[in-house]
Symmetry: C2
Subunit: 374 residues, 2 copies
Amino acid sequence: MKTPICADLGIDIPVFAFTHCRDVVVEVSRAGGLGVLGAVGFTAEQLKQELDWIDANMGDYPYGVDIVIPQKYEGADDMNADDMLEKLEAMIPQAHRDFAEKLLGDHGVPPFSDESGPKGGLLGWTEDTARPLLDEALKRDNVVLIANALGTPPVEIIDEIHQTGRKVAALCGKAKHALKHKQAGVDIVIAQGSEGGGHTGDVGSIVLWKQVIDAIHPTPVLAAGGIGNGQQMLAAMAMGAAGVWTGSIWLAVEEAEAEPAEKQSYFDATEEDTVRSRSFTGKPGRMLKNVWTDAWEGPESPGYLPMPLQGMVTFDAMRRTKRYAGVGECQKVGFNPVGQVVGQMQQVETCRKVIARLLTEYVDALALLNRQMP
Amino acid sequence: MKTPICADLGIDIPVFAFTHCRDVVVEVSRAGGLGVLGAVGFTAEQLKQELDWIDANMGDYPYGVDIVIPQKYEGADDMNADDMLEKLEAMIPQAHRDFAEKLLGDHGVPPFSDESGPKGGLLGWTEDTARPLLDEALKRDNVVLIANALGTPPVEIIDEIHQTGRKVAALCGKAKHALKHKQAGVDIVIAQGSEGGGHTGDVGSIVLWKQVIDAIHPTPVLAAGGIGNGQQMLAAMAMGAAGVWTGSIWLAVEEAEAEPAEKQSYFDATEEDTVRSRSFTGKPGRMLKNVWTDAWEGPESPGYLPMPLQGMVTFDAMRRTKRYAGVGECQKVGFNPVGQVVGQMQQVETCRKVIARLLTEYVDALALLNRQMP
């Protein structure tokens, strides 16, 4: 498609695929979109392995990396990551740990046996843990975009990324946050409506997109939240979006590394089966509604801790229910962030098929609009 | 525009304007759209006056009437409206009445002096009160559409309307409700996403529209919730909507009969200033967030009563805050149902100007899509 963002980033179709799976990154980029690897939760060593694999398999195509680059925490200057982790751990009430552990136990979720992952729950959300991830990404020639999933990245980090010739994107759920991003120097704003999976506000896409596009014009805006087919993509482009940022639809593609039970949970869900819940990270995020999300809202709940504490409590739950998705009643207490578009997800497709389908549906819908031309 | 629904209803542009103001009905229809008078809250006598005025001023243009045609209440057969009202009144705890009255008093809302309106709060939401409204509407030659704002209308009522040669529309917020409507014989389904004003579910427009359109194809679907300009209209049409159902944008047009203070409250609001609240009718509806909506969620709140009881408690608050919108702190406790699109509403325009703007923005946005054609 002949859009400025396609020319800028060297892609054929302005479909951005957020995914934690390296295979999906490669397949989407090779099909003409831009694969973006969600690196939160990886250690620097793990990220290096993933990016090595991507570079070995990608050929000449561009891709992106998504990191959470936080503003500094108050008082964090004098502390290393281990000290901070310890200090934060001490702030977690035992009742929260017990509540989470009991939910897992009651539903037969096995303990995690592999301790090679990142330490309990900071998930790369402090500058100390994010920095090595960013450095690793910036070593890669084919990385054309660094995306920031939460908040406005620090100005000096944006400058640093710009000096390497890459673009910076950042997510927002409110028009005023988009303005903040732009003022800080962000090149591309991703406006994610309430329909979307993961951290999301409560303004719906059809309103948010318009508000953000108008607020920061001519800065390009990627539309996110509720895009699963070519008609929804056309709707976003009709409003002046520079492209679409998609996540949910890549969770169950053939190339996605996930247990069959997890993929099936998406096919089984309707558009009514998600909920915006603070139960995993402490901030409202959309995910499949299940026993876990209900329990944290229920009368026995100890309440939610603020980020990053809630995520430290639930980190073990996240990885155990992901790893053992098909075991016991893991799906009842599992962490499955996904948007309302899950109701449209019906079957396993390849990434290439999804991209081709988006394009076909887009072209067909545009032809219909032209036949109805006022 | 050359769409089937335009041909069916004899309109030029598939923009449906829901409004409680007769002037807006006339102006929108005369500008090529379809004005739809929201008749809930009118007595039959009041509705007769409004429709007489519309018929005298409309000329040859079509319009619609929106009524709530409920399924029968259990046990309602043996009761007339007065008996039912009395029985329902007896079910309302005094604490709820006191809580509402205290909020009004604390914010200087004057008592209502005019008792000519309908009796306290059933608002035409029982068959006994809805029937005379429907009969009145069916006397009018230019009424081409009867819309039902809540639930599936009874099959025998749909048949009766069909026999007079008119179409029946019904709102939904879930795909499964759209299917129920279709099975009952409804001709046109209005799919209203969570962004919309008034009663609304929690599925966002961009997802809901797609799901409903697919679920009941080829039954026409009007897209509602978040449509305030031509780009948003194009987005809806891109997804295969037969037209758009709009409400919020008509609240502050020049022809809308509302106190300046009420119109100003919309211009002052951003897309973040609405909330889905049960505080007025007992069912979740989107409205301006204010002291009233906060108080009913607060620690002193007696909780929400089910429909229609909550509406009977708040009926007096609704009409007092509407009538005396500019007095005291009425806006802090007023009932202002409106969608998130309120953030786009900036100034008073005429109905004709709004329709012209929608068309211009639509055509411009479509031209841009064609330039970016894949």
